[in-house]
């Protein structure tokens, strides 16, 4: 591995440097980039700027047509200041939600990938297909399936099992703690396949010779994993982790479809809180929702930058 990557690294920067030199002083690259930039400007940059603009106004459905007014930082004050400190509770819950989810996604994903990658495993393609299924089913479908056929108090499979075993029924979705565990359970289940796939890909690129050499040196399987597998899949798993953090942090469907943030907002994470603020009960508090979004954006930005700094994942290796 070490030899391989060195030879690859040696060639690449030199080549790209030459290319860059060639472009210097010409307008050509800007023309090439322009179409993409234009699309980005329309579908990404404009909405973001417009949203920041909205967050300083008082736009609701009532003044969407007649025109909204500038209200300064009032929306931010409302979100951060009053409202029973709901925002802070929800933010904290979102971090807990993200950390637990991503931890299990990565560990279980890598664990399953290692199991599937063992040589001589019969029927591996079948297992792999079965394990990928949760990812293949649209979240909307699987979340509703979990809510109605597994978690339902009267008809759900979990409570049917419990009652068959002579145990009392559990309130899966109406008890705050249980409901949070219920959505976590679902989202862990739904998120493992992606990481398993990524880890499988990374494992396949590790040459067998390394393990053979390790065996000759007398390394135990545990030592092999610690000294060969983990360091070598790390470059692949770090981006997957960062993506996983962003996806999980911004996850709307799992919580929204299973509990709607309930009971009483006790399973709300930032995105469901935002969505409910904007649209539930015909609220149409567009500007308040925009303010929440801007805050969420900065939280995520800080989170990602910190993560990148710690892991050094974004550093171009020279």
């Amino acid at each position: 591995m070490a030899i391989q990557s060195q030879s690859r690294r040696g060639a690449a920067p030199a080549a790209s440097k030459a290319v860059l030199e060639g472009f210097k002083g010409t307008a050509a690259p800007y023309y090439y980039v322009a179409p993409a930039l234009l699309v980005m400007a329309i579908i990404t940059f404009f909405p973001i700027i417009y949203m920041v603009y909205l967050s300083f106004r008082n736009l609701t459905a009532l003044n969407l047509i007649s025109g909204s007014e500038f209200v300064g930082l009032r929306n931010y004050a409302n979100v951060l200041g009053s409202l029973d400190s709901t925002f802070y509770t929800v933010t904290l819950r979102t971090f807990v939600w993200t950390i637990i989810n991503v931890f299990f996604h990565i560990t279980l994903g890598v664990f399953l990938a290692i199991q599937l990658n063992k040589r001589g495993l019969r029927l591996a393609p079948i297992y792999r297909t079965l394990l990928i299924l949760p990812w293949a089913v649209p979240t909307v479908v699987s979340a509703l399936m979990w809510r109605t056929t597994l978690y339902d108090y009267n008809f759900g499979a979990f409570n049917q099992f419990l009652s068959a075993a002579g145990l009392p029924a559990v309130s899966w979705l109406q008890n705050a703690t249980n409901a949070f565990i219920a959505v976590l359970l679902f989202n862990v289940w739904a998120g493992i396949p992606f990481n398993m796939l990524v880890a499988s890909g990374a494992l396949k690129s590790i040459p067998d010779e390394l393990y053979e050499a390790a065996v000759v040196d007398g390394a135990t399987p545990l030592q092999q994993h610690r000294s060969i597998t983990l360091p070598l899949i790390r470059p692949t798993m770090i981006p997957a982790t960062i993506l996983g953090i962003i996806w999980t942090f911004n996850n709307l469907l799992a919580v929204y479809l299973i509990t709607q943030g309930g009971p009483s907002g006790k399973t709300d994470i930032l995105l469901t809180y935002l969505y409910r603020t904007a649209f539930l009960d015909n609220n149409f508090l567009y500007s308040v929702a925009s303010a929440i979004t801007v805050i969420v954006f900065f939280i995520l930005l800080a989170f990602v930058l910190l993560n990148v700094k710690i892991s050094g994942a974004m550093k171009e290796e020279a």
Partner: protein, 415 residues
């Protein structure tokens, strides 16, 4: 690391995605469209009318059928776009300012205040004679003295009971409490979506509670809310109701002969009729001798303020609310459909329909559903209070205080 740049790009994109979700349409386009709309106000329309209905599948098919009849008469067709109920208002509010959206919106009357005050629908005050409609339904389409739509139909929640299990409907909460010991194992006296504020509100009015006064001010007291939550908790415990039921599971229990009674609206009738078991409709049970008072919800046909076909839309609305069309709706689509127009009730089809008459009777003790712009603020706090008391064993007084405070706060934030 080759993937780094792609990864930066992906991360940035992923970061930006949620930001898009909070964006709304630009108001600038509206004024130009409104002018174009008023210039074109004729009885014709260069394209088929578009309607967004908050209705079920059967009714969609019937609306389209009405559209075909209307086309033969006027030459203007009708197209229908079906979407989940929860999305309709949100999409309408985004689409109309930019001149998109339907010509006609068929929706519940609690949208009236928002749509009228926000300028999303045509003001019909003085332009349309509502004399042939029931007074209550006209009021539902009226907000602060202005008429914002034409009432189409109305509905109330009532008591369905299984006549094979019960000879008489349950007259009071006490009847329900006495029922359960006599029922076979696994059967319940009652199942309904008890934590849904819409279905439990009739009993709030029975214990003397009131949500909004005549001026649209929020007037619910903690005492009334506490009494209401206490009654419901006692009912759940003493009548041994099934726990944590949803609309769907309550419906399933009632259909499966596992529940003697079920509280819901006229939209259930078609499903029950197909099953052919012996169900009947009666008034909701009383609480301490006081009648339950369900919301009287009206379906209103609104005309989009940016539609270029406003006259044609009004012509279709006029056509669709004629006695002949409304009677056919009851006969062919929903046996418990209650038209807003008066004339259809003289027709034998409605006069002899047991379901129509039962729901009409319940409507007599109903409360007009408030239609001020902030009315939506009651749903979630109501749900939260009911959930806390009925599913989590919270104290009714605490839950009531929380509910009243939250609704008041939410209404303030909006102002």
């Amino acid at each position: 690391m080759k993937y780094s740049k792609a990864m930066v790009a992906t991360s940035v994109l992923a970061l930006l995605l949620p930001l898009l979700s909070a964006c709304a349409g630009s108001p600038a386009a509206f004024i130009a469209n409104a002018e174009a709309a008023s210039a074109q106000n004729g009885s014709t329309c260069p394209r088929p009318l578009v309607i967004w209905p908050a209705t079920g599948d059967n009714e969609d098919a019937y609306l389209l059928d009405l559209g075909r009849q209307f086309q033969q008469q006027s030459g203007v067709g009708l197209e229908l776009l079906d979407m989940p109920f929860d999305d309709i208002l949100r999409k309408y509010v985004t689409a109309v300012p930019s001149g998109k959206g339907p010509d006609i919106l068929l929706g519940p009357s609690d949208w009236t205040g928002l749509l009228g005050e926000g300028g999303y629908v045509v003001d019909l005050t003085g332009k349309y004679d509502t004399g042939r409609f029931l007074e209550n339904t006209v009021e539902a389409a009226t907000y602060q003295g202005q008429l914002w739509g034409v009432p189409k139909s109305f509905e109330v929640v009532a008591q369905y009971y299984n006549a094979d299990l019960l000879e008489q409907p349950a007259e009071s909460f006490d009847t329900l409490k006495q029922l359960s010991p006599g029922l076979a194992g696994g059967n319940y006296a009652l199942a309904y979506d008890i934590t849904n504020f819409y279905f439990s509100a009739p009993f709030l009015y029975a214990v003397g509670g009131e949500l909004f006064d005549e001026n649209g001010e929020f007037v619910l007291t903690e005492e009334a809310a506490t009494a209401w939550l206490t009654e419901l908790r006692d009912l759940q415990n003493e009548a041994a109701l099934p726990r944590e039921v949803t609309s769907e599971s309550a419906n399933a229990l009632f259909r499966g002969d596992n529940s003697a009674t079920f509280f819901s609206g006229p939209w259930e009738v078609e499903g029950f009729r197909e099953l052919g078991f012996n169900w009947k409709v009666a008034n909701l049970p009383a609480v301490n001798g006081q009648p339950a008072r369900p919301f009287l919800g009206t379906k209103v046909m609104f005309i989009s303020s940016t539609s270029p076909c406003q006259q044609a839309a009004l012509d279709f609305i006029e056509f669709s609310t004629q006695p002949e069309q409304e009677v056919a709706w009851v006969r062919d689509v929903n046996a418990a459909y209650l038209p807003a127009a008066r004339a259809p009730y003289e027709d034998p089809v409605l006069a002899e329909s047991e379901a129509v008459q039962s729901f009409l009777q319940q409507a007599e003790t109903s409360v007009p559903f408030p239609n001020a712009p902030g009315v939506g603020q009651i749903w979630t706090p109501g749900l939260d209070a009911l959930t806390a008391v009925l599913n989590q064993g919270a104290d009714p007084a605490t839950a009531a205080r929380q509910m009243v405070e939250t609704i008041r706060e939410n209404l303030e934030v909006r102002e």
